[in-house]
Symmetry: D2
Subunit: 494 residues, 4 copies
């Protein structure tokens, strides 16, 4: 799910505070016919917490009615209390994690969204972004549909509600047939658990099994925590419909070649997950090894920017024979209010999260491995911190190609002009960050690390638009004629 552009929260965005990273915006989970459906969904969302920390929601169905819990904050802060657990009755559940913004979040936007149709109640949660949502919203409003949020997920719900289809499945197919963009969604009606992935399969969705109960999740790490078995990926364009009668698979949208998000391999997914048939941890180590091959340098230490750079740094160290060491120590106790600190503390920036380890850096030539560079502001500070700690040379190696374009498929990215690599050459970037050398992994190196021979420029095997600008779908809202009326959204302050 994505808050549409123009949303007031965007004003609060502050990449520096959040870590100068692209951020995955959502994780989804669903389970059918298990006595502990609510608790298992809580655990699944906890395992997927890295995909969204702002808020979470769970909807269960107990055979008679729906139950709903939506909370701002971490899953483990809100959903494990006995009273909450008790309220989430039923053997069927879906859940959703939402990304963290620095502004005040509103419960109204927390998924799963729920609606009463003529045909019954229906809850849906969604990872991705509909790139023609505002265009569709205008059409729907003209017909009399009333929107409660600017969420693209709500657009899907209104399309379903106003569809002429008879059955719920027909209506969903009708609705999804009108949307463009990327989505992996889970939905719950009073009879069905439905999982669906857009025709390109940009965002992940996995199918698992817990003692006969089907499970859906964004990543396999959510199966591990509950002891479920990984069965297979939901395929691009596939809709799985789970009822008491079993699992049915539809492919209503016609075959298209997959364009899975390659950045899931670089950064978003947890290292212990298996995506697209490959261990993320091993892909990242291979990325490090590719990088060592493409951009070797003589040095004393390989130091990761923790924790996202660590697997690539281990791979780089193994391939280069240069020792791996923790030259930066992470402080795990970064509180919530560091997010809106006093000015006196704001300038501390990166030091609130990281400290250089002076004893091992002093006088050393260091290879610093990070997964990507977004705005570069954090890199500047980390490099300065390492120089203050006595590092003699700093050679920065980035475990992905330069990020030159924003993502419109459910990832929180700055606009193009804010991306360091879109406005500087690599030499300029090295100078800006003040490193002795700077090298990025090549796009073909990245494709090699994920198991391809090389990128096919005519039909790329992955969505790599952030590195190449090759967007796999129309961007209707973005490329529209601009006559979009500014939404006057209420800021709800309950």
């Amino acid at each position: 799910m994505t808050i549409l552009p123009g949303h007031p929260f965007n004003a609060f965005s502050d990449d520096e505070v959040a870590g100068d990273k692209f951020r995955e915006e959502c994780g989804v989970f669903g389970i059918f016919d298990h006595p502990d459906a609510g608790v298992l969904t809580t655990l699944g969302l906890h395992a997927l917490q890295h995909r969204g920390q702002e808020a979470a929601g769970i909807v269960t169905h107990d055979g008679r009615q729906f139950h709903n819990e939506r909370h701002i904050g971490l899953v483990g802060d809100n959903f494990t209390k006995p009273a909450v657990v008790a309220r989430l009755k039923g053997r069927r559940a879906i859940g959703h994690n939402r990304y963290s913004t620095t502004g005040a979040p509103v419960l109204r936007n927390v998924q799963p969204l729920f609606a009463e149709f003529a045909g019954g109640g229906f809850a849906v949660a969604h990872n991705g972004n509909i790139t023609n949502a505002r265009t569709l919203q205008r059409v729907l409003q003209r017909r009399g549909s009333i929107f409660q949020s600017t969420s693209d997920t709500e657009t899907i719900i209104h399309l379903i509600a106003t569809s002429d289809g008879i059955s719920l499945v027909d209506r969903i197919i009708d609705a999804l047939g009108q949307v463009e963009g990327a989505y992996s969604l889970v939905a719950l009606s009073d009879k069905k658990l439905i999982g669906c992935r857009d025709p390109l399969g940009v965002r992940p969705l996995m199918l698992g099994d817990l003692d006969g109960a089907p499970v859906l999740a964004s990543e396999t790490c959510a199966f591990d925590i509950i002891g479920a078995r990984f069965v297979r990926e939901v395929e691009p364009g596939e809709m799985v419909i789970i009822t008491e009668a079993g699992l049915e698979s539809l492919k209503p949208f016609g075959p298209q070649p997959s364009r899975f998000c390659i950045f899931e391999h670089v950064y978003f997914a947890r290292p212990d997950s298996v995506l697209a048939g490959t261990s993320i941890y091993e892909v990242r180590k291979r990325i490090g090894a590719e990088l060592a091959g493409e951009a070797p340098v003589e040095a004393d230490l390989v130091v990761p920017v923790p924790d996202s750079g660590t697997p690539a740094a281990i791979g780089f160290a193994e391939a280069s024979g240069i020792p791996f060491d923790l030259g930066i120590i992470r402080n795990h106790y970064v509180g919530r209010t560091f997010i809106e600190p006093s000015d006196a503390i704001r300038h501390m920036g990166v030091k609130l999260k990281h400290n250089a380890n002076p004893a091992i850096l002093k006088g050393k030539r260091v290879i610093l491995v990070d997964d990507s560079i977004v705005r570069g502001t954090t890199s500047v500070k980390i490099v300065q911190m390492m120089r203050d700690a006595g590092a003699r040379e700093i050679h920065m190696r980035i475990a992905s190609p330069p990020t030159i374009d924003p993502c419109f498929y459910g990832v929180d990215t700055p606009e193009k002009s804010k991306l360091l690599a879109s406005r500087m050459t690599i030499e300029e970037m090295a100078e800006y960050i003040r490193v002795d050398s700077l090298e990025f992994l090549s796009i073909d190196g990245l494709y090699r690390a994920v198991g391809e021979t090389r990128r096919n420029p005519d039909a790329p095997q992955y969505c790599d638009a952030c590195f190449t600008g090759a967007y796999p779908t129309e961007l209707t809202d973005k490329d529209g004629t601009g006559d979009v009326r500014q939404l006057n959204l209420l800021s709800d302050t309950g």
Copy 2:
């Protein structure tokens, strides 16, 4: 606004805790073109707090966009903070108080409700109840409208959104033409403040003026607090449209004789308000005088059940020459958690609010004046408390006729079978309450007190359905065929 029957909150209703009274469910306020619109609305809602204590909401428009604050709790606990005041920018505002239930309220149901139409944003707040709301809701859902609440107010909004009317005013007229029941509503678009009263004028709506700025409010006491001048009542069936060009009055629904709620005079309205051209305080004193004339008794003291019985008791004392005295002392510090107390405290019931004044009751013959009897549970306890304090005789006099039927026009009443007067004769009630005598004001006595000669049984001058069962409108939802699907409402627990 009314939560429809079938809403889970009804399960929490507990008349004993709330005082064994009919409860007015809402108060509304609006102001146009005043620099302090937000603060003045806060003050107006504070003056109308007796019409709803659960929650309140204010929407302002600053010429460019809407601002919204909705809070559970008292106006004076939430809307006077400098930060809230600062957020309610603009020269136009509407506000709403909502009644107090004992269950957990949800912000989602707090008014004003707001919607984005194709035609722009629109906020509406409503006092009353639409008696065909569920019937309309089913039709709208079949068309694809999605409901967020079970509020009848939301039904009005969807009717407006799906109307074929071109202008907003046309759409509102179209929508209100389809609804049955009682409503006094205020609405705010980006250009207009609109006030409207149902054709029977069941619920009040007043027009005032503050230095040229038009003001709308449920009662005149909301004008007093801000120093506004009372201009006139909005007439039954009238729609006033306030723009920068001035005030326009429409009567789109054809003329009908007024049926104003007579219980506003008995209990709901504040004694310092002027409704239907009459001071409420003086009406209540006249009620007491009528009662003294209809049901005299020899006694030493006239004692009110505070505070609602006080004006009638003063009137009774003056007319009868029997001294008025405070035989029951009210504790004003009844906290919120007495609403969900431990069992050990629950049985204290009425003593948490009232104490008999033993020094003046001992050995006395007392005329106890209350405004009405609903379930009678509180009356039983008050009488027992007075007997424990030594009262020798207790003659109860009720400042209204027996309440034998529920209200469907925006008042929280028990169902008919719970109303003491619907299942007992007056003699049985006297015995149940354990008073030496019990008398109610006659219906004609009540009409005399409000200035009529007598009730016209063929065309009653007021809505007096709670005393007579003579409902002035269809009750479509209530009298429907019963095939209404049970709504599976989500309990939102943010």
Copy 3:
């Protein structure tokens, strides 16, 4: 208990917001050997809530150990929750209400205070004020005692802790023998419930009985709510020691004539309490009658300033034959944040609490009855409000003599220079308040109303220092040499 002068909270005091009244600062309660001791103490404190609204605390003893609950806010908001009730185990309890200031209160100062001595645990709660507390505190600090608060109650505890007495009772007698001022205290050790009143009996303390369980309370209304029987007052200078063996009475301090606070009759006590053998409600009606006799005036209505002026207004109306009417309507929904409102709302002042009832005031000559005038700021606003509502003449009658001196015995009063009557003649006051006439009850009239023939100037039967300046004790701290070091108190912000 009193926060000593010099305490930072004094800076926040704002009589206007709090109602321009003297404020009683505490209520105490205790019960011994009843299975529901905790709940009964909760109810007793609720009945005494008018004596202190800032915070409350209860300590129980279950035969083995103490249990403690202290909460900022109303008793009914904090002590009735099942979890709190469950924690207050045991058959013995004491409790305390604390007055409301407008500043941020701190839990550390909430009573009962508790201490571990060598001799065991000990909790004490106290109504009154020790007038040599700071002087004693300096001595104790020099000995090595460490103070946690500036509460005079803590001074008593340190005196007990450092006493050479062997038994707890000996230590308490030793400690109280050193203090000057006014106190009614209740204390709980692991064996005893102790009640004690200072030798002059300035503050009240009542002894009751609930089915054999002894009860102590500041006022008899706390007995009424739990159904306890009023036995007698604890006498001035008396210490009652309640153990499983029964009740023992000591008079360790030698006989002195009583000097009970006459302002309890005028304003502090609840009208349904019986103090010094008299019904407060009846005393106040007699005050009104005396006032009618001393200061008659031709008028149309007698109107009370609600609620404190009501009994005197009823007495005035009865004695004068002029009708009693509610010319001012009180809004009971004044929220907590009106206490720290935005500037835009602050100037509303009295209108947040009161509205003139225009229908009955218009063109009338009004006798306005209030209990007292402190700073006069509220009176000015009420009179203005009544004039705006159309009152033709306003004759103010005050149910007590002019208040010309502050209280040092446990009442929150402004300093002398802020008391209107200490710096103006009655004529000047009438002009300042803008009334057509202003009269106060004479001091002898007040003594007559409480049952004396007249005040004995050589040996006043009551403490009437606020009217006469005749303080019955030394004021050691106040009259000291002024070399008191300013305490650098920590503002605790938990």
Copy 4:
């Protein structure tokens, strides 16, 4: 600071939840004469957060008065808000982090503790534990001292308050001369910042300098975050007195050989700190290397238990030539309520924090490196999780000797009977944990890693009592005659 044994909170201790670790109980910080003293203390405490996560407090002095903030929760959740920053005025400050228990913490016990003496205000914060605190407390109570907490820190304050010494420094020396045990304390009077370490120097205390402003902190990482320079350690038995005149050093307690806590090297201190002249990170890598030498095993991978086992695992991998890999992935989003979860979630235990990385474990022989084994409960679960993920062999290597005795010097440890190594042989432990082999570092190996040749059994160079039972001080409270009266502590629930 330590809550004394017998404290009710101990009942809530739950090592499983907290991670089955010994836990350092406090961190201290102080700074003198810097315009940003409050903010710098906040940052210093943030860097020391690993030494205590339950609560934190800061006291500043602005030349005229003290300011105090104490909050339950993380430094970064409470102390960075602009309002808090603004309240902590002044150029001098001390601060304290307190360890995390799983029970409800109380603000009353949060340090720094503050007291008003005859000589002025005084705040003190303390890392360590006084082993004769209860014995001293009994003596003080008999003299009339009243204790507010069971904190041993309060004992020190009462000793200072009741000392006959003239100057504050004399009093502190007098007080500390009476205490036994371990302490590193910082204290602030209106003139002085004082730092002091017990004669054995068990707990660390460092002296730094920020542009001329002296700084005190438990670890050097607190200097790094504010850019201060590390000057030297405060020596065992040294008292540094910092005033506007400069820094004075006293050694009032006579020379004793140092007995610094060796477990600080193993686990407590942050890896980027320098203690006792050595980089903690490098010591831990040397520990890993020693372990590889002492207990080699043929395997495919070296896997750390993150994060505490990581440096030793890197050292082991380097020394053994076996690849280092992240076989366990840590979930950083463990919420606060996982601490009191529903039963349904409790049994998840370790999986909430860690997930095995199945892709790299499957079929592998793994060397699992952890810093220590306390109860062993977590080890059992981690090993099971790794086996479920497919590990073929698991060889556990522990970076310290077996922990066989509890700590009484400010560390939260289970009692001896709960320590796995105190009741099982290594073979039994291996079987219990279900590993293929289990080896601990030898005590001499540990001494070698910290730079000694070997442990001197006659005069150990460190406090290693948890490994050897050789306590360097008397344990008066523990070894007392047991006539200690059970304290009836109030559970304060504000």
